[in-house]
């Protein structure tokens, strides 16, 4: 009995990444004894950032991964983070196998803080136009919440996390609680002006991002300080200059004395009590002792990362739920979607040649979605946002040899401005895009392996084509030269924005979660990570997960 008591908490949070960290913070602040289960190793802020202070010349291969590591990790090697300075935060292929029914590059970060250490830190809000998407355009199901429901929670998480941005007054990209914005470059400002002249509906702004551009008391209280523009974020930030669970929510939760963080704890399933008709705890495989253990709580938050959350719920079978916890309608794992990041456009600009930038900006400019925003206008559904970045590089004479080469390297000349853009396209959740547990193959932790069957469709192809055409047109109007378009045809997954499978909705027949992120059929289980997303819109999703999490915890402790 004592042992059971010891393993009983008020709440359990599965996962310590960007949303799990928020669940931990909010639950412990509300005085709940909370167990946070992390499947990977522990990564403590400051202590476990081994490369954070390394100079470029101190990296053995200047960042490049040795060939044998690349060959052993064909999936991870496709990810831009899998470099010498941060590869230790990325899951190695062989350790965590999965089955690709169709090509899908599943990038994972199994450690305390999860992918919050590695994310690109872009934090654009959704607007009501995004929440209206599925209903207006007739796909997926209607969102059960409106922008007004989540807006105060956006504010809540923004103030704590520290979000820099400019108040742009755009209906399609609502303003938030902003710290001072990063500067746009002269060419970005020029481009913004040109677009305002050429189009009535194509604003260009500085992106909003989770960097402390001016520290407030709330940030100092977390032990964080102003971002020093190192732009080495994926190594972990000794200053806590960007938001991560490790630097922010987890130490905050720990400070309450109410959090127990348990790394190396791979959640196998959630325990459902048929009599009580609710979940009573979780089964955990301890990856160090190789023992199965059970932990108990009245409230369970599943924040394992989108696909892992699906896996845990699908693996939580009982007489009542033979197909997975809360999966009465058989839709769990289906209607997953992602962001289309396939296309890029680059160019040069030979204006403003007497100017450049100084310092580093861990951010870029941003072209909010302009297609089908207020009404349907094209032959494809939804639209795309675009990143926009410009920089001025120095160039040397590559063909020189000897003194000429040395002189050219030691005193390089300024080149033109370089301009780049990439697509962030909304994909439509469909029943045919799904994930499921394999019936026989287990992973090294005794969990069924995940089968992934996700592909682009005609809508995505049309969108890529339109993006390339439109950005080319916009760059041409701006007078940019040497415009080059590229479609990488990369498999889904590298966006690291996989979403859905446990979608929110109004009707238990067609969705898994209600408007408070509770499983319709098992109300003390909450899902507030990417798995809950009904549709994907174009914004980088983490900020929305954070806001949904804080909102759901607020509700969970009241009921």
């Amino acid at each position: 009995m004592d042992s059971i008591k010891k393993r009983t908490y008020d709440a359990i949070v599965i996962g310590s990444g960007i949303s799990g960290g928020w669940a931990a913070k909010e639950l412990t602040e509300k005085k709940l004894n909370t167990l946070v289960l992390e499947r990977g190793r522990d990564v403590k802020h400051l202590r476990d950032y081994p490369t954070a202070m390394k100079e470029p010349w101190e990296l053995e291969h200047r960042g490049q991964m040795p060939l044998d590591v690349q060959k052993a990790n064909p999936i991870a090697s496709k990810c831009y983070i899998f470099k010498e300075d941060a590869a230790h935060f990325v899951v190695k292929d062989a350790e965590h196998p999965y089955i690709q029914e169709k090509p899908f590059d599943w990038i994972r970060g199994y450690q305390t803080g999860g992918k919050s250490l590695l994310w690109a830190r872009q934090t654009q809000r959704w607007s009501q136009l995004d929440f209206d998407g599925p209903k207006r355009d007739g796909f997926a199901v209607e969102w059960p919440i409106r922008y007004d429901d989540i807006a105060p929670w956006y504010s809540h998480v923004e103030r704590f996390a520290g979000i820099s941005g400019n108040k742009d007054g755009l209906p399609q990209l609502p303003d938030g609680e902003f710290l001072p914005p990063h500067e746009m470059t002269c060419v970005e400002k020029y481009f913004k002006e040109q677009m305002a002249k050429a189009y009535k509906d194509r604003p260009v702004i500085i992106a909003r991002c989770a960097h402390i551009t001016k520290a407030q008391p709330i940030h100092y209280q977390q032990g964080r300080s102003q971002c020093a523009n190192r732009d080495l974020c994926q190594r972990g930030c000794p200053l806590g200059g960007y938001f991560s669970s490790n630097a922010s929510t987890l130490p905050w939760a720990a400070k309450t004395g109410k959090m127990t963080l348990r790394p190396n704890s791979v959640v196998h399933s959630i325990i459902y009590d048929e009599k009580k008709q609710r979940a009573t705890g979780v089964r955990v495989f301890d990856s160090e002792t190789k023992q199965m253990m059970e932990f108990y709580a009245k409230i369970i938050f599943v924040n394992a990362a989108a696909f892992n959350t699906n896996m845990i719920l699908l693996n939580s079978t009982s007489n009542r739920f033979p197909n997975g916890l809360g999966n009465d309608n058989g839709l769990m794992g289906k209607y997953v979607a992602f962001h289309n990041y396939r296309a890029r456009v680059s160019a040069e600009y030979d204006g403003f040649l007497d100017t450049t930038t100084e310092g580093k900006r861990p951010n870029s400019s941003y072209i909010p979605r302009f297609r089908n925003v207020f009404k349907q206008e094209t032959d494809f559904l939804r639209g795309y946002a675009a990143g926009l970045y410009t920089s001025r590089n120095k160039i040397h004479d590559n063909n020189a040899i000897g003194l000429d080469l040395k002189n050219s390297l030691n005193a390089p000349k300024w080149g033109n401005w370089n301009v780049g853009s990439h697509i962030m396209g909304e994909t439509i959740p469909k029943e045919s895009n799904f994930i499921a547990l394999d019936k026989t193959k287990l992973d090294p932790f005794g969990m069924p392996q995940l089968r992934i069957s996700i592909d682009y469709d005609e809508n995505d192809e049309k969108m890529v084509k339109d993006y390339l055409e439109q950005i080319t047109e916009m760059f041409t109007i701006a007078g940019f030269k040497n415009i080059q378009t590229a479609d990488s045809h990369q498999a889904p997954g590298l966006d690291i924005h996989e979403m859905g499978g446990v979608r929110m909705g109004k009707d238990p027949k067609t969705s898994l979660l209600n408007e408070w992120n509770q499983l319709h059929a098992c109300k003390n289980v909450y899902v507030t990570d990417g798995a809950c997303m009904t549709s994907t819109s174009t914004q980088n999703p983490s900020l929305t997960y954070m806001a949904l999490t804080a909102r759901a915890v607020d509700y969970a402790v009241k009921v």
């Binding site: 100079e55 490049q64 100017t355 450049t356 310092g359 000897g402 040395k406």
Partner: protein, 170 residues
Amino acid sequence: MKRRTVIKNIGIALGSFGSLPTWAAGWNQATFDKNNSFNNEKLLAELVETLIPTTDTLGAKGLGVHQFIQKMMTDCYDKQAQTDFEQILLTINPLIIKLFGKSFAESDTKQRIELLQSLAQSQDKKIQNFYNTLRGLTIQGYTQSEYYMTRFTDYEMAPARFYGCVPVKK
């Protein structure tokens, strides 16, 4: 010797690997490790030094760029690329001896540069790859050295600022 003649001779000596000297064509990893690694390190050092020479500031050799290239070759390139690179490397001395009567180390700067220019202009894919790899890694090793970054760039690990539009420094 005129440039044109050098190029022509390289065409004869290296133009196709069917006509490689027998000892080079019969090369394998074991013979390389046993017999040539030390000499090759010296030769590589002279090659990078020719590309980026010592002046009143350090050149590529003084910065150990040849060792960086060896490390990158060993750890980051596949066996085929390593073999190809080393195969061409082994032909450098026989070739320059044929052209100028002296080894690469003994040749003067002008002769060394002439040889490198000829490699750069070769129509042979393997020679092109060799030269491009050598040049690329030499420039990388040099420009990413602490010495270069702290003397010739405005590198700061933590600039603590970003200005989007400043005048270019004259």
